[in-house]
Assembly symmetry: C2
């Protein structure tokens, strides 16, 4: 089971980036995203609606206290992977991480609480350069699932895209 924890969400300012984190987690094979920071029912509703239309069983929830969320998953024997530009490079760690069936992936917001570097089992960088938590999450999941996640079948989808060379084809059921 792969769970994402998005730290430090801020209403308004982070809405789109945080929504992208949720949608990317869903499409790249994760099971759930937990948002921390400011409570934002709009995001949870957005992600739920995407699930209703596009299928699958991805879940989104809110947890005020990120540290208790991490501790809960630690008790459940999840490995905690914090994605940060300051961490060890992904290619050095991904083989070991692929052997772990249960991972809590933590992605920061604008300001990351310093504790997370200590609490995490792994601090992992997708390039030791500033870029994007959305991209870091995407590449981590893509590497973890070794590309197989893109063939995932989303059950009970109302909408299904039929890939085209040009234009759009969507089947509705």
């Amino acid at each position: 089971m792969i769970v994402i924890l998005r730290l430090g969400h801020r209403l308004g300012r982070d809405q789109r980036i945080s929504t992208h984190c949720g949608l990317v987690s869903r499409v790249l094979g994760a099971d759930k995203i937990i948002y921390s920071g400011e409570q934002d029912s709009g995001i949870l509703k957005n992600i739920e609606e995407v699930g209703v239309r596009w299928g699958g069983s991805f879940a989104a929830s809110y947890e005020k206290n990120w540290k208790s969320a991490v501790e809960e998953y630690k008790r459940k024997k999840f490995s905690v992977v914090h994605l940060t530009m300051y961490g060890q490079q992904i290619h050095e760690k991904i083989k070991a991480l692929r052997k772990k069936a249960n991972i809590l992936i933590v992605v920061g917001g604008e300001k990351v609480p310093p504790d997370i570097y200590q609490i995490a089992d792994y601090n992992i960088a997708i390039g030791n350069q500033p870029h994007s938590e959305v991209a870091a999450l995407a590449i981590f999941l893509h590497e973890y699932f070794a590309g197989k996640e893109l063939g995932k079948n989303f059950k009970s989808a109302k909408l299904k895209i039929i890939p085209q060379d040009r234009g759009k084809k969507v089947e509705e059921s």
Copy 2:
């Protein structure tokens, strides 16, 4: 040479997502990003400043008319790859695309002009599901460069991260 064209940027609303597109392009081995839509000197400045501090020669510019930008790169014999959830799946096309040295990667904004599906040489999906242009761009570049882009050396960097198991270490020069 890999150039990104970001369509339909809107001031304010798209600022962070468009900035992430630029930073992701830079870190994952592209040479340049061109923004279209509303002109936003703040984004160009942001990306330039990241380059000054973190090294490399990545460039960002603005082009009012996206179609003339595409035509210019077509004349220069670039392959035009439009990333869209409606396109053909990446794993079916990436081997052929890796053989092309010059690619213009087009990523849409909220509303994508329908012409681009026709003008592009390839319409490529990173999962036929809604998610994020930042993530699609990241996975495309990561696949195109086959992971080697993460070892890229950014020349003349003032700041350099020394990867750590815990905490942050940055060397300044």
